[in-house]
Structure formats: structure tokens, C-alpha cells
Symmetry: C2
Subunit: 337 residues, 2 copies
Amino acid sequence: MSNIKNRRWVLAAYPDGMPGEGTFRMEEDLALPDLADGEILVEARFLSVDPYMRGRISPAKSYAPSIEPGQLMVGGGVGVVVESRSGEFAAGDIVETMGFGWQAFAVLDAGTVSRVDPSLAPIESSLGWLGMPGRTAYFGLFHVADIQPSEVVVISAAAGAVGQVAGQLAKAHGCRTIAIASSRAKLDWCAEIGYDAGINYRSVPDLAAAIGEACPGGVDVYFDNTSGAIQDAVMMNLALGARIALCGTISQAASFGEPDIGPRLNRNLLINRARMQGFLVTDFAEHYDAANQALAKARDDGKLKFREDVMDGIENMPKAFLKLLNSENFGKQLIKI
Amino acid sequence: MSNIKNRRWVLAAYPDGMPGEGTFRMEEDLALPDLADGEILVEARFLSVDPYMRGRISPAKSYAPSIEPGQLMVGGGVGVVVESRSGEFAAGDIVETMGFGWQAFAVLDAGTVSRVDPSLAPIESSLGWLGMPGRTAYFGLFHVADIQPSEVVVISAAAGAVGQVAGQLAKAHGCRTIAIASSRAKLDWCAEIGYDAGINYRSVPDLAAAIGEACPGGVDVYFDNTSGAIQDAVMMNLALGARIALCGTISQAASFGEPDIGPRLNRNLLINRARMQGFLVTDFAEHYDAANQALAKARDDGKLKFREDVMDGIENMPKAFLKLLNSENFGKQLIKI
């Protein structure tokens, strides 16, 4: 097709422990296939890196098949239609999909993408507060944890793509919100967007005690983006009837497939009649419209700010991903092409 | 009051690790107080020992206050009214209460006991299948795990007071039921009462693999009476949308207050969008009548057998309790007075 050449990142090898830059390999000067009926060619404007990608580059069983070495890295992206053989889209349209891949151009089935209206919000919002991370926050709070006004809600990775939306939606719902994050700067941002309190898990001597101080009546809802030792500390402070919405396990990034070891804290669930529940945003696909409307309304009402951490150039995707795994990003991590 | 003398067991000291006989102390030749208005004097016929008592003899936080050294041991009992200053009960009536205590006679507020009709079932049933353990099984299955016909239900301590009822109720509901127990003899009994398969966790080389073999499509519901390593093995075999009804943590009997260490398996909840929920029978007090009716119907339909392990003599209560903590009981552990 034409003379456009593609660039893409493939998985080089499953990482042993924390991924490194050698985990990925760039392929360049790739010819693009001709479009079949119903397909569109899309040029990336923004690509997304997200914690879930850690699970895909492990041979361990997960909710989606592993990427095989040599295969294109998965990932969401938003871009502009360059050529179309679909009646749905014309050149110049903006579309978004979770299935873009780490590449400059993608040939996509028109049925698998969503139209993005650039007059409503910057197009990269479709990868952030108005996309998968924003909806994840919404479903975790309202469909999984069933938050109620005046409840105490603790959120880990509180300044991350999901966490910052969760904190603001919970606050707007009348909850008291506690941020857990990895730096003073992130906690300053959390305070700015309305969290009632914040804890730097890297600097407090006793995280469980710090949570207990911030939540003297216990934690009603824990939006868990990390699991691991942060979850342990929250488990020591559950209120009666607590709910844990288990959204991510990024603390295990270095040990996928070989879980690490920690205290058995089930009795804390028992004595508090608490519930821990895993969920994925895609389980709630039938409610995406409702979620998008709620998110757009929060934004219009001035109750939803969103911070992005944008790095330039597709060549930096592995670097951006490693930043994320090491909690060095500050806000939703994106790559601008 | 009269010349009746009481005997009772008090807590001697909080055990360090697994309780021993020295954990308790018998007090004898105790005078009984005169009855106040509304009180009854009840002579024990059967006293109950149950796993939950382990939590009460630990200073660690639990769902109920700890017993202090020197205080009467808590426990359920059924007995005959000897004297009454209540219009509700007359001498000769049979009554049951969770609040009898480890003692030969109890002075009780008539409002805290339930009448037992000895023509419906042996009176000790009120401590077993038609009492707290039976109702615990019922609520765990139907209110917490929400079992559905044809689902695969795994039950630990499957021959115990709660487990054997849970297995039969789940089977009667159309589920496939898998017993996990500590001996061949217990598993034979499990087969006799209708479990579809059984696993001896003490003799299989790899419990997770054995569960995987017994449940090739995964575990839909785990009725967890033990937690610990058995739960870990079930967590390796969860089906999509699995529910874990967290009923007991008796595997931690030797380490209350200082949780032991195990693999962090939260990711298994996440990828299977599974739920783990702690519960107590007393949370469902408003549904006790419905539970009793369902249990009585199952019994009348010939779908509910119940095995008891009866030891004679109040002097043996600590021995019976230690038997239970070491999985050496076979069925609901009772003391006949």
C-alpha cells in the first residue's frame, strides 16, 4: 500500500523479573498490507502505556493470552484515518482503539474502533479520563465497591491514570478520599485535585499505622491498583463491611507468574465481613456509554482534572513503560507520535 | 439457690501458639445466684465446641471481644429448664443458646434463649445441623456465594459441622461438590453423604494439582472453612467469576494474632474477576427462620445426614476442643453432660 513504511515494537523475550529495554525490539521499514473491505489505515497520534501490559509479556496465565516473542506489543492508541475501505469512516476522522499496538500505523477492522470527536476534548483524552482508565475508575467505584456518600475511600497509585479519576469521582460522590502514592510531588497534585489526605508509602516508617491515623474509623473502600505490601497495610485497617476493588497488581511487576510472599490476612476479611473483588473494565462494556456520560459531566462540572505524562516519539515506548512500572511517571503515561 | 453446685471452665491464660489443656482451668463447687425476674436456671445436656472459640482466647482483635483470663469460656449449649422466673418457660422445657458457656448450669435471661421442640429432632441438633453450624452453611452458600445449579463447589473441612451440611445443601441445589478433608475415613463419610469427589489434603503430593484434576473447568465456589494453604491451592484453580465464602480460618489456629506467611495470590482473583467475602452467621439473624425451614426440609426429604462426635463429661471439654483444632474430630464435636 502506497509508500508508507511502518515502525513497530515487538516482544523480544519474556522478561525474567522486572522488564528492561531489551525486553522489546523495534522493527522498521515495514510494508503495510493492502486494505481489505471494511478496513481502515490509521496513523497514530498518541499511544498508551498501561500497567496491564506487564501481564501480557509473561507466560503466566492471565485474563488475556500472552504475547509471544516476535509478536507486536499490544496497546491502545488514538490516531487519524489515512485511508478507508469502510463506509463508517473517511480519511481525516479520528478513531481510538484498545487494539492499536505499539506501532506508527495500524490496519484496523472499522468495527473495532471508536470515533473520537476532537471538538469535545483533546483527542488523547480517549486514552485517559474519557477512555479505559477513566471507565476503570468509574466501574471500580460504582459497580464493584458500590461507594456510598461519607464513606472513607483509600486509593493506591492515587495519582496514576486510574487513581486520579477514582479519587475525584469518589470525592464528588461525597466520600472522604485518601491518596497513597510514591512521592511528595504526586501527593501535592492529589491534594490539588481534592483528595482529603495523602500518604507517601515510600517515606512513612509504618504504612499500616499511617493509614490508621488517616482513617481512624477504618477503611470502607479500598481501590487497589497495586496489591502487595500496600494492600497488606490497608487490610490492617478495614472497617466493618469494607470492600476492596481489586483493579491492579503492579507491585508484582517483578515477579509475574511467581507470586511473592506476604502475610496471610484473610482473617481481617472475615472479622470485618469484608469483600475483595477482582474486575476488568471490559466486563462492563454494556455500561461504557453511561460511564462516558458520567465522566464528561464530572469534567464539565469542573470536578475532574487529569494529569498526563507525555513522552515524545515511538522510539521511547519501552522507556515510558519502564518508567510506569517503577512509579516514575506522574499522571497518565502517553507517547506522542 | 437451692443446693445445686456448678462446675465451669474458665480461661487460664492466652495460649502462645496452639492451645493446650493448660489453657483452661476448671472451677468447681460454685454456688449459683438466685434467679432474678425473667431469668431461668438451665442444666446443660449438650455443650458445643466450635472452631470460632479459638479467636476468643486470643488478645488479637476479632469480631467479638476476647475472653479475659479468669472469665467463663463462651460456647453454645442445649439443656433443660430446672427453675424459672419467666412466664415464657417452665421447668422441664428444653432451651438452646449460643451463650451458655462451658458450664454445667447456667442462669440465663429468658429473652436470650430459643425453645427446642424435642419431638422434631434430637435436642443436640440445635447445636448442629439445625443450629449455628447448619445455618452458617446455608448462609454461606445462598447469601454469600450465591451458588447456582451445575456449579462446581469445593468445601474445606468438608466433614466438619459446617462442611457436611454445606456439601449436602449444595448437592441438593444441583451443584457438583468436592470435599477436602484430613483423612480417608472422613472422605468415605463425605462420599456416603453425596459429595461427588474428595481430596485428602494430608496425603496428596500437590493439593493444587489434585483440585485441578477434580475440577477441570475450575472452581466456581469455594466454601472456605480453613484458609491457609488449602485456600492457596484453591486459588490456583478459580473459574471465571468464582466466589469464595470465607467462613473460617482454622488453619491459623496456632498463630492467631500473628498471621503466617504465604504466597500473594490476589492476581488470581483479578484475572478471574473473582470475589472473596468474609461472613458471620449472626449477620443473617433476620433470616434464621428461613434457614431453619430449609434445613428441616432437606432433612425431611432425606437429603441431609449429620454426623456427630460426642464425648462424655464436662471435664473433657478442653480435650474435645483440642481434638477439633487438630482436625481429629469426625463430625460435629459435642460434649454430653
